[in-house]
């Protein structure tokens, strides 16, 4: 009886005790999670600083050597590798003629342009036929890379020029269109560009330079992508560089600068470049053919191609280089609405998730060197998972404050410090831009860039995190891949959107 009373008493006292212990456990968990989130973002920003430092070193290295780099010798070099520029086009009626004209006026001794009309439903082909007096010709195409789309016809200018080839095919997606273009390519180097990209006149010269400097080892080079919104575009060339008018795009300028220009330059310096933008990349044709071309089932086909190149070269124990070239550049129009930006970011996130899963065997595998041990784990931990951690932080930290697990002043100070650190990274990137590239010449643009750096962490990153999580979920659910429509506004001489027209 006494024992039973004791047990009942203990039970009565134990319920609140257990609840208290549970609450304490939750508080502890929230405190630890909050701290982990903070440490995570400390690591992310520190990694950016390290990459920016590497990019700075690379830029100094490059600029000190420009005087004796032999850039002028390219036209007198009989062994200069010829380039096949492949331009997939789908419903590009508005800008295709101008894009081809701009490409034809690129400075490079020997190149051809292959436009692959991927089953456009608008007048893309008709515009080209009118402009270049295209005639249909028979062509035997080597089936070096298996393709899905059916080639309908091949056209060249009636004047006998061998520089432009237009291939019409049934619609099968961008990656397959590029594969068709690679099969048609006659030259040892293939350059993949988007039909809506604007290349600097010397871009091919620069991006091909590593191939002549180190012809035995270089298998791919990537050019930097900058944002053309707000810039003055005349005759298919960016003639005046300005900051965009919308804050959403201005923030992307800072993001591109930090993550794409300096981040990729840093990775290139480390020998771990994983992403060459599909908007501007140059590849050795034989290397791409060797690995079977681009994967038409991948939504991030450009990064997947580079990762597969790394994997193949490492598995073959071949000495190779994949290089990022920071100047000159390809310009592209960035999304100017949340809806379009969201579609783009979901696609990027999903592409990275699928790439990581497809090449999971490379993770932590010493056989793949820096790619397996450093680059891929970095991209997964600090790029792919960043949206998840970011959103977790947005939930956990306020929750921790609410239940008393995290001290409010402390949480506030930590968040402000994180914000300050991210700001420091953005300003460091701006400083490097100013010293190494100084593309934005107006004082006003400099001020706007600084303000955009302040604004990036307020809302923009959180939206990005949400879209990133959606991309991961889509990859896990394996829903149908949709590129989505990239609504473009075009460029004008005044740097204002004009609805798809360029002068």
């Amino acid at each position: 009886m006494r024992e039973g009373a004791l047990a009942a008493g203990a039970a009565a006292a134990g319920v609140p005790g257990v609840l208290e212990a549970l609450a304490e456990g939750v508080r502890w968990l929230l405190a630890v999670s909050g701290a982990a989130v903070m440490v995570y973002f400390l690591c992310v920003n520190t990694s950016y600083l390290v990459l920016i430092a590497l990019a700075t070193w690379d830029s100094v290295h490059y600029h000190r050597r420009v005087a004796f780099a032999g850039a002028d010798d390219v036209y007198s070099n009989p062994l200069n590798p010829a380039i096949s520029v492949i331009m997939p086009a789908y419903n590009e009626e508005a800008g295709i003629v101008e894009a081809v004209r701009a490409m034809l006026s690129m400075r490079y001794p020997s190149f051809e342009i292959i436009v692959v009309d991927d089953g456009s439903r608008d007048g893309t082909f008709d515009r080209l036929r009118e402009e270049y007096d295209l005639v249909e010709v028979p062509r035997v195409v080597p089936d070096d890379i298996p393709t899905r789309g059916r080639v309908l016809s091949v056209h060249v200018p009636g004047g006998g020029s061998q520089v432009l080839t237009v291939v019409r095919k049934s619609n099968s997606g961008r990656a397959d269109a590029l594969n068709v273009g690679i099969n048609f390519a006659r030259n040892p180097l293939v350059c993949m560009v988007d039909a809506d990209s604007i290349l600097d006149p010397g871009a091919l010269l620069s991006v091909a330079k590593p191939f002549t400097d180190d012809p035995l080892r270089t298998v791919a080079t990537g050019g930097v992508i900058r944002i053309a919104n707000g810039c003055d575009v005349v005759g298919g060339r960016v003639v005046t560089v300005r900051m965009p008018r919308q804050w959403l795009v201005r923030i992307q300028v800072i993001e591109y600068l930090r993550a794409f220009l300096l981040g990729r330059t840093g990775w290139s310096r480390l020998g771990g470049l994983l992403i060459i933008s599909g908007a501007f990349g140059l590849f050795r044709r034989d290397a791409v053919v060797e690995i079977g071309g681009l994967d038409p089932d991948s939504i991030g086909e450009d990064a997947e191609l580079v990762t597969r190149l790394h994997r193949h070269m490492r598995e073959q124990d071949r000495d190779y280089r994949i290089v990022f070239v920071s100047e000159p550049v390809s310009w592209t129009e960035a999304p100017s609405t949340l809806a379009v930006l969201g579609r783009q970011r979901r696609r990027w996130s999903r592409g990275l998730a699928e790439l990581a899963w497809k090449h999971r065997a490379m993770f932590g595998n010493p056989r793949y060197g820096r790619i397996g041990l450093l680059a891929l784990p970095y991209y997964v931990v600090f790029e792919l998972l960043a949206p998840l951690v970011s959103l977790s932080g947005l939930v956990l930290v306020p929750l921790g404050v609410l239940v008393g697990a995290i001290d409010l002043p402390f949480a506030g100070a930590i968040m402000l410090a994180s914000y300050g650190y991210a700001l420091l990274v953005a300003f460091t990137a701006l400083a490097v831009e100013e010293y190494a590239f100084h593309r934005y010449t107006r004082w006003r643009d400099l001020g706007v860039a600084a303000l955009a750096a302040f604004a990036e962490n307020i809302g923009y990153r959180q939206f990005n995190a949400w879209w990133g999580v959606q991309g991961i979920v889509a990859a896990l659910r394996r829903t149908q891949q949709v590129w989505g429509v990239m609504t473009r506004e075009g460029f004008s001489a005044q740097g204002r959107p004009t609805g798809g027209k360029r002068r």
Partner: protein, 364 residues
């Protein structure tokens, strides 16, 4: 200090760092622009003198004296332009510029810089000496071909090409082994040296490194060394490296002697590697002899795309007999594969002659 205070101090430091960076950006831009304005002003004063010096239409002694006496700031403002001009002007203008650099002691300083510690300094010095075509620097530049920094080796090779002394040909070829200097730089240097490089090139055809033999074979064709045909034929038939044989085929096509024709006709045979056969098929078009038509005709139905493609393109360059063969093949006399290649080649030929090609037959 509490944790909140610690974080607050960190925050303050971060904001201070951001402010400093902002100031660095603004200051850097201001200083750069001020310097650009100053250099532009100084260069505007001096540039007319440079133009008069390189124009070659007046007595340059007075201009030379004034340029040689420029103070350091003014000289630095135009130095880059003057160096750039060296590579662009020839004849009297180049000679006058070279004298200017000699009088300002640029060549002397550059020779001294070849032994300095910094690799950038050595490479810059080599470049300047090359632009000045400073023949006395050839031994020093040759030594730099073994420099441990690739940019120095490359700059030295480029400079040796500009100076174009035949004695540099051998060392230039040697540094191809192991890819110590980019092959295109060596090729350009050897082309600049020209026929005087032939002894070294012929010797290099027996080099142990295939990359050296390959470039030697390529350059012998590029400099039109007809006397090297037998060495190239030997390489085409016997060399163990497919790359060497391919380049030898290309060179034989460029040289185009009757002996080349026989060797290339033999090289399209099935005993040769596919890459060599394709190159030989293309080279037969370069030779341009109708005697190659039967050999090329036989290749139109080849299973290897590039062999058949090059053969068809070569036939378009062999005049009437070549075109006739293509027409025959296009009509299906040699099979479906040959017909497709022939139709493509005939279309290219039609376009080159200003005619519209026949419309392709619809796909089955």
């Amino acid at each position: 200090m509490t944790s909140v205070q610690l974080v607050s101090v960190t925050l303050a430091l971060l904001l201070l760092a951001v402010s400093v960076l902002g100031a660095v950006i603004v200051t850097g831009r201001s200083v750069r622009r001020a310097r650009q304005r100053r250099d532009a002003r100084l260069a505007a004063e001096v540039r007319p003198l440079l133009i008069r010096l390189t124009g070659g239409d007046e007595d340059v002694e007075e201009v030379l004296r004034r340029l040689a006496a420029l103070d350091r700031r003014r000289w630095n403002a135009v130095r880059a332009s003057a160096v750039g001009l060296l590579g662009k002007v020839s004849g009297q203008g180049n000679a006058a510029l070279t004298r200017l650099f000699e009088e300002r002691g640029v060549a002397r300083d550059a020779v001294a810089d070849l032994s300095r510690r910094g690799s950038v300094r050595r490479a810059r010095a080599a470049t300047v000496l090359g632009l000045l075509r400073h023949a006395e620097a050839v031994p020093d530049l040759t030594r730099l071909l073994a420099d441990r920094h690739p940019e120095v080796r490359t700059a030295a090779a480029r400079a040796l090409g500009r100076i174009a002394e035949p004695q540099a040909a051998g060392p230039l070829l040697d540094c191809l082994a192991g890819g110590r200097v980019p092959s295109d730089v060596v090729v350009q240097a050897l082309i600049a040296i020209g026929p005087a490089a032939r002894p070294a090139l012929t010797k290099a055809m027996a080099h142990t490194a295939p990359e050296v033999r390959a470039i030697a074979a390529e350059v012998l064709g590029l400099i039109g060394s007809v006397g090297s045909v037998s060495a190239l034929i030997r390489a085409l038939t016997l060399d163990p490296s497919s790359d060497v044989r391919t380049r030898a085929a290309r060179s034989l096509g460029r040289l185009g002697t009757p002996a080349c024709l026989d060797a290339l006709t033999d090289a399209v045979g099935l005993t040769y590697p596919t890459a060599v056969r394709a190159e030989a098929a293309g080279a037969l078009g370069d030779v341009g002899a109708p005697a190659a038509v039967p050999a090329l005709r036989a290749l139109l139905a080849d299973h290897h795309y590039r062999v058949a493609h090059h053969a068809a393109r070569s036939l378009t360059r062999l005049g009437g007999p070549g075109t006739e063969t293509l027409r025959e093949a296009a009509d299906g006399a040699l099979g479906v594969r040959a017909a497709a290649h022939a139709r493509e080649a005939l279309a290219v030929l039609a376009l080159a002659e200003g005619r519209h090609p026949a419309r392709p037959a619809p796909a089955p």
